[in-house]
Amino acid sequence: MDSGTMEKLAVLGEGAKYDVSCSSSGADRSNIGRIGSAACAGICHSWAADGRCISLLKVLLSNDCVYDCKYCVNRRTAGVARRSFEPRELAALTIEFYRRNYIEGLFLSSAVLVSPDHTAERMYECLWLLREEHGFAGYIHAKVIPGTSPELLHRIGLVSDRLSVNVELPSETSLAALAPQKKPQGIFGPMRQITETQLEHRTLSAPGLMGKLDSAFAAGVTGGRGAPIPAAFEQAGGGRRTGAGEPDDDFGIAIRQGGYPDRRRTYKERFAPAGQTTQMIIGASSESDLHIIRTSEALYRRFSMKRVYFSAYIPVASAPELPDMAMPPPLKREHRLYQADWLLRFYGFRADEILSAEEPDLDYDLDPKVVWALRHLEEFPIEVNKASLEELLRIPGVGNVSAKRIISQRRTAAVRYDDLKKIGVVLKRARYFLTCSGRYYGEGELEPCYIRDRMKGMEGLADPSRPVPILDRARIRSGLVGAGPEQVSMFDALSGRQGGL
């Protein structure tokens, strides 16, 4: 490995560090390949100085970008050192890091080198070398460049565990202003293709359907447009796929026969078995929190996203459209958005319940679930011995696990107040909002201001010594681009345009 590799690694690792969507999970590739397994999810290998877990080698294939996104360190007009890995070079580096147990897999992203397809081609080459030449069965997360052609995207999906296309900004207006070369179609087209291909694979790999695979597969690849299928795909569709739920018992047979069956020597050919995620930059444009969580709600619904990540904008350039260089990243806002996101995903809330046009922004001092409860005091207190699961989940301090435990204990005996703590309910928050066999335990009145004061400052970010900047809305709003309240979200636009994508 030549000395240039070190230099590239430093530059291209640095260039990828702002990407927050990084966790390995969900894929099962044990007992295959020559090296690596993605069977054991959630292994952290190290923790960087900022306290973030390092699980994957997160790098760019290149930072030599032809695009000019205003918020990005690697935009064309930025004066940074430009480097690009050779696909072979990066594949070898990944394997060597993996052998030493530095990493659990690869998270590959890239700037737009020459064109989206040119970049995608090189990414594919790198991943293919890893899988086929090195026999790598570990975890791969590939970031799809907006505008990548369906054919290439399909190939990349077959060698990756997880894919993601960044939505980047919460509205079309902001996208046009800050990332002018990225088009909504270029982002949502690939997202949709990923969702649909996965759906197809799940159906097709059911028993008894193998015969139909090729024709249906062809229809999927070309998206019904009738384009010819490149030879590589036909080969890939050759029926070696394994279903998502199929038990992995080949290995047992292999042992009994004293060898490994040949087909198991290679990685499992499945299309992005760990699903797709996306990422949105927070605080570079002026959208309200309501707009942001509506957008992420739509992303979960339409594309079955595994996660929508938020990334607090860290100023990298001064431009009239962007927040001041001195503005600290809106970490607290990011934290509250993640809590709201949690409510969407696990608590059955809708975006419109969490925020409204009159109150379009989250309260940065309080958990959004508490805020909701304070705004709907007429629904409280809730009697834990009578409420449905859905109702229990609305009580601040009651989580999914504790709600289920309450229900199961109720079957044998009434839940007493003292049981709640053992069950896992956070009483310092919950007691204001519930009764236990008719008795109320929150001292004082069920009265918003009182409860509010009691709860403020009860929880903070993990490290209280860390400065927690609050976005100066007035300052930002005045100068920033973004969708105004009356503007349609880009998802409305998307549904209107669906046929044309």
């Binding site: 530059v11 690792g13 690596g36 960087a48 100085a49 900022d50 030493r100």
Partner: protein
């Protein structure tokens, strides 16, 4: 009466057997750990495989296979008085039925559960925190470990792949508990075809594995000295450190969080935590 045994799992099970069949055990100590007690002479228990199997079968039958696995894992922890703790646990379950085995609020079950959690956590943590080096058996040395008996000279014309074939992955760990065998399933799956050694430097033992087969053997610093870093090793370590430094976001620096997840006692074997 105090029991003294040889420190093996079978030895411990033999003590359990003797507890039931001859004298009640008030204390069970591994040889070397026991400090003489003037008043009552201890009893030396000779490890008996037959008795050990009998106890094992009884645990499986009267409690559950799960409970046996738990007893075994806890036995591998570095917990003071684990033998007596486990004996009380086994007695409780024998007496009050298998339902007791996982009743986590019971005062005899709780410490067992805690100890089991500790070793489980360490195993999980080490799956990420172990660092391997690519090594070759030293040229002058005899046969290396892990099945490769080559003299170790890499001829200049050999391809990188061939060199890699001759390499062994070697890792040093200093775990709190005896975790080697619990690491084996994960790492044999990870390194399907490469020989590797995980050396517990605290206990002088090593997990030696190749092609999904593994065993644990005594391994000293002398053995370790027979292994030389492969020519490429330095370069990759430097690159990893460089990468590690490059990816931290300085606006979000949070050393406390870092230390929480990655306790300082593991740092000496972590490539990226070495001084630059």
């Amino acid at each position: 009466m105090n029991y003294i045994y040889d420190g093996t799992f079978d030895g411990f099970l033999t003590c359990v057997y003797e507890h039931y069949h001859s004298a009640k055990a008030d204390g069970i100590f591994a040889r070397g750990v026991y400090q003489a007690d003037m008043l009552t002479p201890p009893r030396e228990v000779r490890t008996d495989e037959g008795k050990a199997r009998t106890v094992e079968a009884a645990i499986v039958k009267k409690i559950s296979p799960h409970a046996l696995a738990r007893v075994y894992r806890v036995f591998r922890t570095d917990t003071d008085g684990k033998e007596l703790m486990l004996l009380s646990y086994i007695r409780l379950c024998f007496k009050s039925g298998p339902a007791m085995a996982f009743l986590h609020s019971h005062p005899l079950v709780n410490p067992v559960e805690k100890a089991e959690l500790k070793i489980g956590n360490e195993v999980h943590r080490l799956c990420g925190l172990i660092r391997f080096s690519a090594v070759c058996p030293a040229p002058a040395g005899g046969a290396g470990h892990g099945g490769e008996g080559h003299g170790g000279t890499v001829d200049s014309g050999a391809e990188a792949v061939a060199a890699q074939m001759r390499e062994i992955l070697y890792a040093r760990v200093e775990p709190d508990h005896e975790v080697l065998e619990f690491l084996a399933p994960h790492f044999t799956d990870r390194f399907k075809s490469e020989p590797f050694i995980i050396h517990d430097t605290r206990r002088g033992r090593a997990l030696v594995a190749w092609h999904r087969r593994w065993h644990i053997e005594d391994f000293t610093e002398r053995d370790a000295a027979l292994l030389e870093n492969a020519p490429s090793e330095r370069g990759y370590r430097d690159m990893w450190r460089r990468y590690f430094d490059a990816i931290a976001i300085k606006e979000r620096k949070n050393p406390r969080c870092q230390r929480n997840f990655m306790p300082a006692r593991y740092w000496q074997n972590l490539t990226e935590m070495q001084p630059r």
